[in-house]
Symmetry: C2
Subunit: 178 residues, 2 copies
DNA sequence: CTGTACGTTCAAAATGTTTTGAACGTAGGG
DNA sequence: CCCTACGTTCAAAACATTTTGAACGTACAG
């Protein structure tokens, strides 16, 4: 294969590895995804292990993670009992998969915890000393800021998730904050 | 201090620590930020080390990082030679600081690398065998998808960064993709 | 000038994460 | 029914990150 093609392949894979790390995934996972994305043909576990020079065990585990994230799909090759994988190459789909299974949970959890805190502070009511009452007041303000923050995040998220094909930014535009 | 207030303080700080980790920062950094955010008064390094039960060295290093990220500010207390810190409590400001000094660079770098790849592929021109020519074609398609992706990210980023006070989602709405 | 109360630094230790590879399970070909 | 070519698992090893604390520098009070 041509040297320049190899260079392009390498830097793309490295870049996607970097990006994966950025998004909180294992870097190898990103490199596996990148390798598949830059392959015209599906690849077997051994192909992947060979190309990235990592152990087969690692490939196996990371590929299953990629599958769970909806970033790669198994491809059946007739007359071959190896497993072959292909990358989900619609990047918007990938983003939607990740946002919906990970970020959404995270935001909901945060809002949940904040809501609980507000309740707790309100229920603390009159068992508080005067100083503590001021502090509770202060906490409520800060927590309200955090709630506003996560609520906007949630709206943006749901808007992106609700968008079809390639990301529809017109819809995102409709979000407003009080 | 009232038990419920302590519980709220703790869970908020833990949550912000978690969030920090999510954003690729050290968790302690997040807890330091959270501690300051939930404190009505600025706090000294020793205060912070005591409250979080971590070493002073760690506090010192992490606070400087927080300062660099524009997430905390030094506050001068007259008649005291300790350093006091307060959190930047405008969360939109914090987000803008982070996006502008970190994500922006990242996106620009990615687009840079992708552009270089396109050039390289085009310059590879006729030194390619027929198979390699097909592969180059394929690479160009995939890279073009990546470019589209990062370009939208860049637009979204710049729009958020250009927004004033609290995030203006109307502006974000204006972004469209081809 | 001296002592003290601080902040900073950084090497070593503790801790956490990733990677490996050998052991194992399994299905399908012969 | 065995043998082989695979995929999976997981404990141990390699590696990376974070935390600590002792050593150090500095500035200020007395």
């Amino acid at each position: 294969m041509n040297e320049k093609l190899i260079a392009v392949n390498d830097s793309t894979i490295a870049g996607i590895g970097r990006l994966a790390r950025y998004f909180g995934f294992a870097e190898v996972m990103g490199r596996l995804f990148g390798t598949l994305l830059m392959s015209p043909e599906p690849m077997s576990l051994d192909d992947l292990a060979a190309q990235l020079e990592i152990s087969k065990g690692s490939v196996s585990m990371n590929m299953r993670a990629l599958e769970r994230w909806g970033m790669a799909k198994e491809v059946w090759m007739r007359g071959d009992r190896k497993k072959y994988y292909a990358a989900e190459h619609d990047l918007w789909q990938v983003i939607r998969n990740v946002l919906s299974s990970r970020e959404r949970r995270e935001v909901e959890l945060a809002l949940q915890v904040l809501g609980d805190s507000v309740e707790k502070l309100q229920s603390a009511g009159n068992e508080l000393s005067p100083e503590d009452r001021d502090l509770a007041e202060f906490y409520l303000e800060r927590i309200s800021d955090l709630q506003a923050f996560f609520t906007v995040a949630q709206m943006a998220l749901e808007t992106v998730l609700g968008s079809g094909e390639s990301l529809d930014f017109d819809a995102v535009t409709k979000i407003e904050i009080a």
